[in-house]
Amino acid sequence: MSRQGAGVTEQLEAPAAAPIVHFQAVGMRYGRAPEVLRDIDLSLAPGSFHFLTGASGSGKSSLLKLIYLAQRPSRGMIRLFGHDVETTPRRDLPYLRRRVGVVFQEFRLLDHLSAFDNVALPLRIAGSKPQRYRGDVAELLDWVGLGERMHAMPPTLSGGEKQRLAIARAVVARPELLLADEPTGNVDPDMAARLLRLFVELNRLGTTVLIASHDQALVARAGQPVLHLQDGHLRDGVPR
């Protein structure tokens, strides 16, 4: 699998050794509601692997949304790949987003596209030609166990199949940062272990990984650092 869209991202390369993600005193609220995230300081070094844990409603998804630029913070500063997202021109934000692969908790697959076209979506958006990506996409679908279902439409897939499809879509462009929101919530333990190996393999190849998960067994098995969210605050380590 080759890294796609490198040409268009070169203009937004991070300064050497800068954190991939850097939060400084970040707070976030929805509308006029109380803050769901408070005074978040976070730094993800290039090539790091972290789990993000916390009770349901603790703000894990909100934190990920801030990183993949679906939400703006209410206060504080966020730097992504070394760029202050507040001051980065709007026209350049898509180039930052292309460097981030996201596995959404609700999958966010496009129901009118086949499994194959869903996985190929990031490559199409980055301007890659079908002749270039179709082999990689088919290979990846095969790897996540959907090789025989690449022609299926998402509504006909099971929850586990949709999850694997969402993961394949998130990693197909070899993102520099991979964010996953409960990526093993709908798969059996064997498939969960297999997907974890995929994340670890991507991490070994240089991708920074942040996985939000409830799955304590998965977190323990991975043996990677844990960031824990509690009452909107971020703490290092697994809570007792």
């Binding site: 630029l69 180039y95 086949s114 979506l121 990031p122 958006i125 079908p130 179709r134 088919a138």
Partner: protein, 300 residues
């Protein structure tokens, strides 16, 4: 839910469109845009025919003049008129100068006085009609000079007042057609803008996914732009086709008079509807892109 073609058949495989295919709302939109295009084409036909009618009337008026003769010095009206016609016939640029006899003069008054209501002893103005050479018509000054030289007391009507009225009417027709065309285009743009807004709202999930996957605003706007341009081109073709069919029927059954005698239609006028699909597509593309960009730029 149908299944997509097998990607293994690489030779025939093409990526699926990123926007879901149209639904019932598209058909309603095609109908509205086609109707607007139909009306716009009829407006163009009417403008062309009206312009042609105005030009014809102007040419007719410019090719003739009328002289009213007032007898003087014991000369009979018939003698004075004959002398005036003789003098005018000799002017360069006059093809014919002819005295209207009483019967012709009565016929001119019939619209006001009615047929047979003119007493025999009612004195009627003696008129001389002058036909001018369309290529090099005699000027009013030359005609007046000829009458003065022949010592005929007469009043020349060179129809310039009527020609100005006809020109004004022609300009009004053209301006009305232009305004109607602009209004139709604006209405089509408004409809497309509304449909784009609806389309963005209905496909919120798709737009958000594309957005979060790194699509630029212009990429997403381009999807809506292409969709609505294609839709408007199709609707424009339908509207133009119906308008051409109606105009062709009017021309076929109504002869050169087309819709009415005041709107003489030519077969070549029908060609004016041909750019309609392209213009509709351009208006739709502009409206859809502008609307989509304005909405997308309000996103985080």
């Amino acid at each position: 839910m149908t299944e997509a073609p097998l990607p293994q058949d690489w030779a025939h495989w093409r990526p699926a469109p990123l926007l879901p295919s149209g639904d019932g709302r598209d058909r309603a939109l095609v109908f509205v845009v086609a109707t607007l295009c139909f009306l716009a084409c009829l407006t163009v036909f009417a403008a062309l025919a009206g312009d042609r009618a105005a030009q014809g009337w102007r040419a007719d008026l410019a090719a003739s003049a009328t002289v009213q003769v007032r007898p003087t010095g014991g000369e009979s009206p018939a003698e004075a008129s004959a002398r005036a016609a003789e003098a005018l016939a000799g002017v360069k640029g006059v093809t014919e100068a002819r005295v209207l006899d009483r019967a012709e003069a009565e016929r001119l008054l019939e619209p006001w006085l009615g047929k047979g209501n003119i007493p025999d002893d009612l004195p009627l103005p003696r008129l001389v009609t002058v036909d001018l050479d369309p290529a090099a018509p005699a000027t009013p000054a030359a005609l007046r000079a000829a009458l003065a030289q022949a010592r005929v007391d007469a009043e020349l009507d060179d129809h310039s007042r009527w020609m100005k009225e006809v020109e004004r009417a022609g300009l009004t027709v053209r301006a009305a057609a232009l305004a109607a065309g602009a209004l139709t285009a604006a209405a089509a743009a408004a409809v497309i803008a509304f449909a784009t807004r609806e389309g963005l709202a209905a496909r919120r999930d798709v737009v958000e996914d594309l957005h979060l996957t790194g699509a630029q605003d212009r990429f997403v706007a381009g999807l809506f732009q292409r969709r609505f341009a294609a839709l408007a081109a199709r609707a424009g073709a339908w509207g133009a086709a119906f308008a051409m069919a109606l105009a062709a029927a009017a021309r076929f059954f109504g002869g050169a008079e087309g819709f009415t005698p005041v709107l003489p239609l030519e077969w070549t006028d029908l060609l004016a509807a041909l750019p309609c699909p392209l213009l509709a597509a351009l208006v739709a593309a502009f409206a859809a892109r502008r609307t989509a960009l304005s909405i997308l730029r309000a996103e985080p």
